[in-house]
Structures are given as C-alpha cells and as structure tokens.
Symmetry: C5
Subunit: 354 residues, 5 copies
C-alpha cells in the first residue's frame, strides 16, 4: 500500500457508526493501562477490562486510560457501554489512516494526530496514529501498538509536578500533544543536519551517491510535510476552539503548541527548498563539469586530427608523389605540423579554453 | 474533445431554462429505479415512468429515485410536472460537463459531483457526472449511464441499518457523497502506490520507460486534481450551508466529508510534487550518466590520439627520415608512447576521473 | 504595441472626464443598432443618431442599444446629453485597453469585459473590448468593431423566449455576459484539444516542431489567462454586488456565471501546468536520447581507437621492427585485436550499455 | 549600493523624529515651486523660502508646493514651523529608500511612491522617491531632483479644466498619483514589446545575445515588480481609507487607480512568466540542437571509424600477410567497406537519424 | 546541530514551567546592566544581583535591565521572586531556539526576536536570540552573550533625546526592535550588493566559482528568510495588539516597524528569485557554450574523418592497386580531398555553424 495515502477498499461506503478496524493490526493483544491521579495521589495499573476503570474514577481525580491495539472491537464496545463514549467517536478511532483532526462532540473532545518516533536501531522514522478523547476528568489515548513518546509525561506525573497533577484532563491532553510535536521538531532537526551537511559535498565532489541522498531526503521531508500540515490546521482549530472542556489557563500553552507546529512547518518548507536548490546546483555542476570534459576532448581532437591527416597523406603508396623525394620534405612536414599546433594552441588560448 | 475541459459549441448562448442534453449519450434507454424506505419497510422497484413515483411517496418514507440516462428530455419534463422540480434545476442536470457545485433552490438542494470508478478490466479511471437533487423525503440521483458506486449504500438500506433507514433524505445524500469521495481516496491510493514504486527504479536504472510512466501518472494526477479541487470547494460550501433541508445532526458527517476531500486534495498535491521531483531526479541522473559516458570517450581519445599520430608520422614514405634507420628507433618510439600514456593516466588520476 | 499590455503615451495624465478615444480605430463609421422589446412586441432597427432612441423608449419596454465603433466622440457626447449617462462613464468606455471591471454609478452599472471569438478563417483568437452600461430598461453595449457573439441572444429575443422578453435589462446583461463566457470555455476547449494531442507526440518522436507548438500554445494560454483572471474578479464582484439594478431572481444566474468563469480559470491553469510538464518531458526526453547517441559514439570509438593504433604501429617504416619478420605476426595481431574487442564488448555488456 | 534594497549604515537606530537626510544628494540647491489655484485664478511662482507660502494661502484656494531636493534640513525645519507639519512626517520624507506607504496623521495624509520615468536619451528607467503630504487646501510634493511626470497635470490646471480647478487637494493628489501609475503602465508596455519580440528569435536562431536580453529584461521586470507590489498595497489602503481629507466623490477615481495598479501588477507578473518560459524554451532548443550536432558527429564517426581501421590493417608492413598478394584483394576490401557503410546507413535510417 | 532548526532531545516533554536552559552556553558569567532614566536623570550601572534593581525603581522612571547570559537559573529565579515575573515567562526565555513570537501575559508583554549582526572581522552573519519583557516602567532584555546592536539607543538615552527619555518602556521596546530590524535591512543590502554584482559575471565568464557564490548566497538568503518571516508575523501581531501596556502614540512607530520588516521580507524574496534566475541563466549559458565546443569538434571531425580515410586506403600495401601506378593519382587524390572539404564547409555554412 502507498505510504502517502492509505485507503482500503473495505472502507468504501461504511456507515460512520460501524465498528470495523480499518488499520493494519500490529499487536495480537490489547493492552489497557490506567494512571489515576489527583494532587495528593497517583495510581498506575494495567487493566484487564474497561469495566475496572469505574473503580478508580472519582470527581476530583483525573483518569488517563491508554489503549494499545485497536483491532478488538469487543473492547471498544465495552468502552461505549461503560464510559458513555459516543459510538461515532469510537468508529472514528478505528480508521487509523485518517488525517489529523479536531472534533467537538457533546460530552468530549476528539483529537487525532500522527505520533512520530525515530527508531535509532533501524535508523528510520516510524509513524503511528494517536487519538485523544477527553472530557474534564477522563482522557483516553488510543494507540496502534505498544510504545510511545509519553514517558516524560508519565515521569512528571509520578514526580508530583504540581501543575500537571493539580490540573484537569485538558492540561494532560496539552502535555501529550506537546511531546508529540516536540518529537516532530527533534526528528526534523536530525534530518536537517544531514541535509545541511550535503551542501559542501555537492560542489566539491558531486557523485551519484549525493543524488541518492537528495532523493531520499526529499521523500522523507515530503512525508513529514504530509503529516505536519494537517496537524498544524488541527492545532490552529484547537487554539480557536471555544469549549467548556478547555480551561482559559490552557490557552497560553495552546499558543505555544501553535508556535511549535508553525516552526516545524516552516522548517520542513525550508528544508524542502534547500533540497530543491541542492538538486539544481548538482545538476548545474554536472553540466559545468561536462563542459570541462568536452573541452579537453575537443582540444586534443582538433589539434591532432589535422596533423594525423597530413601524416596519413604521406603514408600513401602512390608511385608519383614528388614531395617524398625531396631531401628536406620530412622536416618541412614537421614544420607544418608544429605551426598548425601552435596556431591551434593560440586559438584556444584566445577562446580562454586553456 | 479535450479531456480536461469539454465545452460544446451548441452550449453557447443557451437559455438557462432550455432543456437540451449537452453531454454525450451513453445509453439508448432511460432507466428509472426507486427505493422507497422508512424505518419499518423498504421497497425497491424499477419504474416505467416518473408518474409511478406518486404511488409510493408518503410523508414518513424517503424515496430515492435514480435516473440512468439523461438524453430523453420527455422523461425530464415529466419530472418537472410531477414532482414540482424547477425547470432551471433540470436544465442544469443536462449539462454534464459543468464543474461540481452546490446550489440552493427554493424547495430543494442541488449537488453535482464527478463520480470516479476504477475499471479493473480496462485498467483505467472512468468518470461520470452525478447530480443529487433532494428535499426532506425525496432524493433524485441523475447518472449518465448504468453502473455506479452506490451498492454499499443499497446494502445498508436493505439490511435495515437503523441510522440510514430512520433518517431523512439529507442523510442519504451524505451517504452517497461519502461513498463517492471514499472512491476518490481509493483511486488515488492505487495510483499513488505505482508512483511510489517508481522511486527506486529512477536512480538504479532510469529508462525511457520510466519517463513514459512519469508522464502518464502526471496526466492522471492532474486529471484527478481537476476533479477534486472544485469538489472540495463544493463540500466546504455544503459544510457552511445553513439550510432547513439539512438537519443539525448531519453536520458532524459533513465535517467528515470535508476531512476526506481535504485528504484527497492533499494526497493529489503531494503526488504531483513527488512526480515533479522524480522527473528532476531522472533528468539529473541522465545528465550525470552522460558525464560518465563522455569521460570514458575522452580518456580513450586523449590517450590514443597522440600515440596514433606518432605511429602515423613514422608510417610516412619520405625518402629521407633519419630516425627510421637507427637500430633502436622502433623501441624508442614504444618508449615515448608508453611514457605519453603514463603521463595521461597520471593526469586523469589526479583529476579523479579514474 | 505589446499584446499583453497596451498603454499609449497619449493616455498619460488625461483627466478622467476627457472624451478621447484611446484604442485603435477599427472602423471608419459608427453603427447604432436598437432592439426594443417587451413581452408582447419586439422592434429591431438601425439608428442614424442617438436622439432617435427617445422615440422607442417606454417604461415597460427594454431598449438595447448596440454601438459599433468608438472613435467618434460626437456620437458619445450626444449619448451623454440625450440619455443622461455620466461623462465619466463614457470617458471610461473610450480606453479600450483597460482591464475588465465592474463599477457602480448613481444611475447605472458599468461592466467591461474582453469578448473573444475564434476566427475560423484565420485560425486565430481575436479579442475586442466590450462595455455594457445598463439600468432597469436600457442597456447600451459598446463594441470596437462590427461583429460579435450575441446572435444566439438576438435569436432568443426574436423567438419570444418568455423569460428574456419579460425580464428587465439586468437579465439581458446576464445573457450577454453568459454568451461571452461560454465562448471563453469553447475557445479554451479547442486549444486544449490540441494541447492534449501533443502528449503522445512528445515521447514517441520529439521534434523541433513539437517545441514550436508548445511555445505557441503557452503564449496563447498565457494570453487567455491574462483576460480571464480579471474577468473572474469582476464576476465575483458582480455576484457580491448589492444593487437595486439587479433583481434578486438574477442571483442564481450570476452564480452560474461565476461557476463558468471559475471553470475557465481552472482549465487555463490546468493547461498551463500541462504545457510546463510537456516542456519538461520534452527536455528530459531529448537529454535521454542524447545519452543514446553518445553511448553509440563512445562504444565505436573505444573499440576501434586502440586497435587502429595497433595497426598504425605496424604500419611504421622503421628498418628494425623484429615482429614484422616473424611468420605468424600478422595473425597474432588479429588475435590481439579480437581479444581487445571482446574485452571491450564484455565491459560494455556489464555496464548495461548493450 | 544594491539597487533592490538600499539601507545605509547611518540609518540604523535613528530616532524617528531626527531630521537627517538618508538618500543620495542629487541636487546642490533646493527648488521650491508654488501653484496656487481656485476656480477663478491660478498663480505659479518659484519661492525663495517656505515662509512666502503664507502670502498666497487662503481658505478657498489650493496651494501645491513642490520641493525638489531634500538635503537641506533648514528648509524642512522651516516647513515644520510655518505650516504646522508634524516633525515625524518630515523626518519620514528624508529616508528616500523606504517602500511606498500611506500614513494617516492628525492633520494630513502622507503618501509615498516611486516615480518612474523612461529616459529616452539614456534608454533606461530612472526612479525617484515621491512623497505627497496633503490636507484640504495644501499639498506638498517632495522630490529628490528637478524633473517629474507632472506636466500634464500642470497643463490641466493652467487650462482651467473645471474639475481639477474647483476641487480640493485630494483631487490633485489623485491626479498626481494617476499620472505616476500611468507612467508605470507605459514603461511596462515598452519593455513588454521588446519581450514579446524575443519570442520568434528564440526558436529560429537562439544566440547568446538572446540570453543576454532575457537576463536583462528579467532584472528590469523584477525591479518594476519590486516597485509596483508595495505601491499596489498602498493604493488598496487608500481605497479602503475612511478619512475626512478625502471627499466621497474621489472614491470612483481611487477605484480607477486601483484598477490601473492592478493591471500594472498583472502585466509585470505575466511578463515575468513569459520570460521564464522563454528561458526554458531557449534552454530546450539549445539541448535539442546539441542532439543534432552530435548525431552528425556520431554518424560520421561510426561510419568511418571501422573502415579506416580496415584500411589501417592492410597498411601494416608484416612480411607475411596472405591477403595482400591475392589479385582482387584491394577490390574485395572496397566491397567490404561499401557493405559496411550501407549497413550503417540502413541502421541510422531505421533509427530515424537520417 | 542543524543551522535552520535546532531542537535538542532534552527539550522533549519538558514542563512549560521548568527552568532549564536549552540553548548553547556562550558565556561563563552573567552580566546584569541597568539603565534607569526619566526626563531629568539617567543612571547607568552594572549590577551584582537582581535584588539591587529595587533600589532604583520608582514610579516615574523607566528601568532597562539587560541580562547577558542565560545559563544561570539562580539569577532567573531571583528575577521571578524580586520582580514578580511569571515563571512561565522566564522558562520561555531559556529556550533560545524558539521562533520569534509575541505573547501577552497578565502584567507584561513578551517579545522575542533574532538579533543579527554582521561580524566584519569574520565576514559572516551572527545570530542571537533576544527577548524583551516589559511593562510600563520596566523592560528586561535577555541576550545569549555580551555585545548587541543597541548602542545607538543607549546614546540617544544618554544625550537626553527628549522623546525617548520622557516616554514609557513601550517606546524603549519599539526603539530596540527598530534597531534590530534596521540591522536586518542593512545586512540584506550588503548581501544584495554582492548578489547584484554577480549578474555581469554570469554571462561573460561563467566559472565554477560563480556557482559556488550562487550556492553560498542562496543559503544565506534562505537563512535570513527563515528569521525574517516569523519576525514579520510577530510585528504584525504587535501592530494589531490592543494592550494597555502600549500607548496609542506608539502605533505610528509600530506601523513603521511593520513597513520595515515588510521591506526586509520583500527584499529577501526578491533576492531569492534573482538567485534562482541567475542559476538558470548560468545553467543555460553553460549548455549554450557546450554547443559551441561540440560544433567545433564536429566540424573538425566531419571534415577530416573522410579525407583521412581516403589517405588510409592508399596507404594499404595490396599488390594490385591500379590507381597507385597512374601518374596523376596523387594529385587526383588531393583534388578529391579538397572538393570533399569544400562541400563540407559549404554545408556547415548553410547550417550557420560557421
Ligand atoms: Mg467513510
Ligand atoms: Mg468516521
Ligand atoms: Mg494518513
Ligand atoms: Mg495525513
Ligand atoms: Mg504506541
Ligand atoms: Mg509562501
Ligand atoms: Mg450557458
Ligand atoms: Mg444552467
Ligand atoms: Mg468538467
Ligand atoms: Mg470539473
Ligand atoms: Mg452511472
Ligand atoms: Mg461546519
Ligand atoms: Mg493552491
Ligand atoms: Mg488615466
Ligand atoms: Mg477613466
Ligand atoms: Mg486587459
Ligand atoms: Mg464587435
Ligand atoms: Mg452570490
Ligand atoms: Mg529607523
Ligand atoms: Mg521614520
Ligand atoms: Mg522600495
Ligand atoms: Mg523630480
Ligand atoms: Mg472600493
Ligand atoms: Mg473606499
Ligand atoms: Mg497568483
Ligand atoms: Mg516544550
Ligand atoms: Mg515554553
Ligand atoms: Mg531558531
Ligand atoms: Mg526561527
Ligand atoms: Mg548579546
Ligand atoms: Mg495598527
């Protein structure tokens, strides 16, 4: 399936309320993790089923339920039943190929975004669809597989950082989005470093290897852009949103998110242009070097072709070639050759080829 | 006629109320199909004439009339007479080359869109103009020929999916548009797969065949873009529309449509850029390989041209060439030749051509 | 004078009220034609002078005065005097090089647009400035020369098409603009057909003739764009206009105009991109074929240059060349030559040049 | 100093109220000219000092003070003192490298714009910063040197054109801006003519001279664009401005200005694109012609290289070459040569090179 | 780390309230400088600790505290404690890689911008993050290292320029931003000069050195654009801001800032396009010169290859070559050679290669 757009045939014409998983199954189990916290306490726990959540929920604590693995619609139906999440919301979660969006529902906010991680072992970017559904004291995060970028947030929760522990789920949602976008920035800057390093290589020793690199980086940057542009639109909508579920005090942090995604977007655009420039420079350098190669060929050919012809003429075996018998003919031939060569050299000098 | 814009001479200066078919006739009959449904019942039937519809219409049921074939203005005049559709609306349906649009009329909404299907047999995209005219409990769909993408919707109606059976015609209109746009996404992703596969081919073994592919895909992507851009504008207008004919509960679904067409639009733009990049990479690769070819030619020429000249000189038949008679002349010539070659090789080494 | 912008030196610093003709005179007479119509009657007549109009005007009839030829300021002064047209309006009509615009005056609307026709005899597009000035029951159309695209409208008027005969001058203005824009679409589609036909030619047999065509079409498309873009702006303003002179019932038709000019604009943009793509494909194809040409040259040169040198060496006339006297030398030389050639062929095979 | 942006080191960090001349001094004197007019009288006079203006000012007359030369801050301080012009306004006038702008001050409007003239003697465009400061009955125009484009306006004033003589300073300001923009249009159309003439030259006989022209025109068009784009922004602001200093009756004229600068802007954009297209066509034509050159080289080389080799082989001096002694060998060699040539010719024919 | 985007791994997931320095430490001390001024007095002093500020603050004086070096969070915590600056504000200051922004806080405005200086010694542009935090009578400027562009402002303060000494901190903030942007303009104009000088060089003697220059300037211009674009956005927000901390009288100066940053932005865009044009011209010139080189090679080859072949044929040693024995054969051969050459020359003349 294409990397830039995935649209399965099975997805065509589905009811928006139909609970069918439309992504690729990446786990063979579903993992439910709960972090329940308030200013004074924090409880972390793996859950066997959604219904256990009820045991922890209380009005003055925030529950963060993280679900890894979306292929089991049974779990999701339980979610609908136990937590009064609209069926429409859950059906949406199941299409992991949708573009990032923000949707306001009656009793919750729905935010989806692509979570990027740099896999140091494989030296490549991996992408995963992330959905956050939250109201005042409950946030559910839906992930395609185990593993995410949220450990710094979990640490802050555990270390009783006052701000995050005493705020509502809206602050947690901001913190999660913030770390997602911080990762975008970090990944772009890592790719950017490689791109900027290409610059010197291009004029000094342009090789077919540089071309492969330019192409590879271009595809990566295009891929990042495809992910960042709709995310930026979503963050802008989030900043403009007027919802009871988002406290006024969060606005300054959302503005910060907007600045960060804007910076990511600008950086991606800049690097895209830099790569285009690099390709143009490479092409022109190659064309310029070709000129050099062909000047050399032309100089040698133009100098030697006429004098080789002269020698050829006197290599013929005609019986009657008067010049052959004159004593100094051979030396005169050399004279003519040398004069011819000197004229050619002077000509090339004047043309500034030499 | 051109594929990107069709504008017949006969269409010039027509009254907007004139019922004249301006498309290409693709059927030699007109097929009328009715699906009449409410929460409790569903009736499917092929109609002989428009007037039969009256037998089925009732206030609490929705009638979906599908018309395949638009060349018979008699049928359409009947429509105007029997169903109180404005003549202006029907005249508009007859120009199948118009761009997608949304128009509000006094008693109905008019939505036109291009319906794309991927014809697996012929391995090509086929396009057909689709018009939906609907009010609360009547939806008429106008098609150019038999065959459409609506079977998933018919199945949902037949299987008594609660939501669709208990909603008004606005929900049916949304469902039909949704399946049209889902098909856009699917078609783009199929084309996209081929485009992404080109990437490796381009640097490893660029052939004239790759060039043909790039060109073909570029034309297809441009064609998709021509269809998607005005459709996106239409969907945006639909989202912003404030009409009694669209229930508030539909808004969330229209927003989903907008997200999908936005994704289609972004994907098409991305693929267009990827193809441009691919063409640039191809061109530069070709230029780079030319350098290689000509370096080889130049190396061989520059090395052999001087030594061939030397041999030529001693092939002349002058009577008096003193060198010829010296015993070791031949070996000295070889010496000079070898030294010349070594100098040349050293020179090319230093230039990093070897 | 340049085709894309005409700005005469005489036009500089003129008072906006000065009646001076700033176009090129294309007629040596002025032709005044009147069509006066209401629901029950229609009168068509050529007028000798503006003052005759008064004889026909009545409150319940619409008068369409068409003026061909704008060089005679006498006629125009009469117009100002007899019909209470503002001097500013008439002065504006006289500068036929202005861009299309909409201007609201106290007692009339002023609309200017470029009227394009395809001259089948000369196989070229001709352009003419058209100005429409109208209030409720009078419309004056100003043309640079005899001949226009309005015959379908005159036919509709004569055939007593109910709608146009019973409406005010605003509907006539719409009908005239509609036919102008329908002609844009038709002309673009004719040019578009030629452009799309180029596509196959470009990869199969790119010739200098294809290049001439690409260039010619590019200039034509740019010219069309120059005319369509400001026209589109004008139509958008017309749709947004809130004037007593335009009846509410006309809005749906103006929206149609906007859709048509939008389609023209998109088509022109599409064709412009297609032509750019074609030029790039052409360039790359040419570069690719060059590679082929030079591979052949290089293969032949690289194979024959060394073996020609070998033959050259044994064509020298040194007295003492031991190899010459050995019985099988000649055959050994052939052996060396054949081995050399085989090595070269193997080398080129490995490089995939053969 | 750069032509596209001039920013002197001395300008850094200056107080906005500091009267320091930041342009290049182009005169060694300051020339003050006054035209004082009302409906019944006009007085033109050169002034020795600003204070003389007071003698002419009256409530029902308009005074147009034109100042050529801005280096003498004494004159400008007098202006501030005598005419109650804000110091901020005058300080702004002194930085002649600023971009065009509109600024509303408490008692006056400030409009700056670049005045272009085509110097027919030198065959080049000259630019000069023009500032207009005006209230109801006073307009001060600041110029860098003697000589401007305002003579048509002065003529209209002298000839008692009713409109201009009976209006306030706002109409005069409009008239001056109008003539400035008319000159833009004229200059673009002159340059445009040359650009359009290039078109034929490019395909028929592309020379290095065409390249020089393309480059020169590109720089000129870029320069015009740099001047026109901010001017257009300024005119748009002027049209939107709601100031007591601009009478309602002027609005229609300002709209005209906006149309003219829009036309200038579009023309510059069009010509820029045309020049880009021309460069691409030139480049592709050159590449195509290179193909021709190299096809010829390859045909000759490929045909003659093998047969020259054959002749070379039989020019060797081996003692034992059996073929040499056979009576018809020479003619057989010719036969082989001719067959080789024919095969090559047939091959090139099939490849459509011939 | 990349120059166009710096995003440290440590920054990921930090609480927005965490005081951690995220830039590169450029000093090993922190330098605190205070300028305290009112209309009548000015006091300049280096501070040992933040707490000393209190000694100088009074209601009718403005205190400008400048902090060079941000690595010492102790100093910053003191700032929070002593001056009631929000912790959020100070945490933001510590991430020196953020893009320029404007943020309104409850009791202060936060403005960040990149300060550019041209280092004449090193012949390169240096960038430093600058943050201004201010309320009515206190402005704190945060810098990464000692050295800035503010000396002209300090001079104006010391020389008792009335306006700056009698205004609030908002005017000081404007003056500081003004000098930052003036430096942008100056730096662009210096780079621009070099770019414009390239123009002649490119057509007359394009060398690989020109290519290096184009590339270098392109990177510099891209870097300037990356810095200027978000700064422009920030200034636009500042102009639109409605805050009690900015006096109405400052608006005219903010508008001036907006004009200046707009001019910087346009200049950078212009130079970017000029550089792209220059690269295209360079490429095309190189291609054109290649044509020249290869025409010469082809002319020489095509003329000499056939006649060298003829000579070769008569150099063969066949026993029976009848022509060799005819008395005038040699001269006839010369005749044929000369005729061949003349035909070739005529042919090249006709093709306009000569
Ligand atoms: Mg769907
Ligand atoms: Mg959904
Ligand atoms: Mg996706
Ligand atoms: Mg996406
Ligand atoms: Mg995960
Ligand atoms: Mg942009
Ligand atoms: Mg029509
Ligand atoms: Mg219609
Ligand atoms: Mg169409
Ligand atoms: Mg369309
Ligand atoms: Mg169909
Ligand atoms: Mg909406
Ligand atoms: Mg766009
Ligand atoms: Mg004018
Ligand atoms: Mg006018
Ligand atoms: Mg025009
Ligand atoms: Mg006409
Ligand atoms: Mg409208
Ligand atoms: Mg300044
Ligand atoms: Mg100023
Ligand atoms: Mg300027
Ligand atoms: Mg002047
Ligand atoms: Mg206006
Ligand atoms: Mg206005
Ligand atoms: Mg545009
Ligand atoms: Mg952060
Ligand atoms: Mg922060
Ligand atoms: Mg930065
Ligand atoms: Mg930045
Ligand atoms: Mg500093
Ligand atoms: Mg403002």
């Amino acid at each position: 399936m294409a990397r830039f757009l995935k649209a399965k045939k099975e997805a065509i014409g589905l009811s928006p309320y139909e609970l069918r998983f439309l992504g690729e199954q990446k786990l063979d189990f579903v993992k439910l993790r709960l972090i329940n916290y308030s200013e004074d306490q924090l409880e972390e726990r793996e859950l066997a089923s959604i219904s256990e959540i009820k045991d922890f929920q209380s009005e003055d604590a925030v529950s963060w339920v993280n679900i890894d693995g979306l292929h089991d619609t049974g779990v999701l139906e339980e979610l609908i039943a136990e937590l009064q999440i609209d069926k429409l919301v859950v059906a949406d979660v199941l299409d992991t190929h949708r573009r990032p969006k923000l949707q306001e529902y009656e009793n919750c906010l729905y935010v989806s975004v692509k979570m990027l991680q740099f896999d140091d072992d494989e030296d490549q970017i991996t992408s995963e669809n992330l959905v956050l559904v939250f109201n005042n004291n409950l946030l559910i995060s839906f992930q395609e597989r185990v593993g995410d970028v949220f450990n710094p947030i979990r640490e802050r929760l555990r270390k009783n950082k006052k701000r995050i522990r005493s705020s509502n789920a809206d602050y947690l949602a901001f913190a999660l989005l913030d770390v997602v976008i911080d990762n975008y920035l970090h990944i772009i800057s890592r790719l950017g470093e490689k791109i900027e390093d290409l610059d010197d290589e291009l004029i000094e020793k342009p090789s077919s290897d540089s071309l492969v690199k330019i192409n590879t980086y271009k595809v990566e940057i295009s891929y990042l852009r495809k992910i960042i542009k709709p995310c930026r639109e979503m963050i802008q909508n989030l900043c403009r949103l007027d919802s009871e579920l988002i406290d006024e005090s969060i606005q300054v942090h959302l503005d910060e998110l907007r600045h960060n995604i804007e910076q990511a977007n600008e950086a991606v655009d800049n690097y895209r242009e830099i790569l285009s420039d690099q390709l143009n420079i490479f092409h022109t350098t190659v064309a310029y070097k070709l000129n050099d190669v062909l000047k050399m060929l032309t100089i040698f050919s133009v100098i030697f072709i006429p004098i080789t012809f002269i020698a050829g003429v006197y290599g013929t075996n005609f019986e009657n070639i008067p010049e052959l018998h004159y004593k100094y003919s051979y030396f005169i031939m050399w004279g003519i050759i040398i004069i011819t060569v000197l004229i050619m050299l002077w000509y090339f000098k004047r043309k500034k080829w030499l």
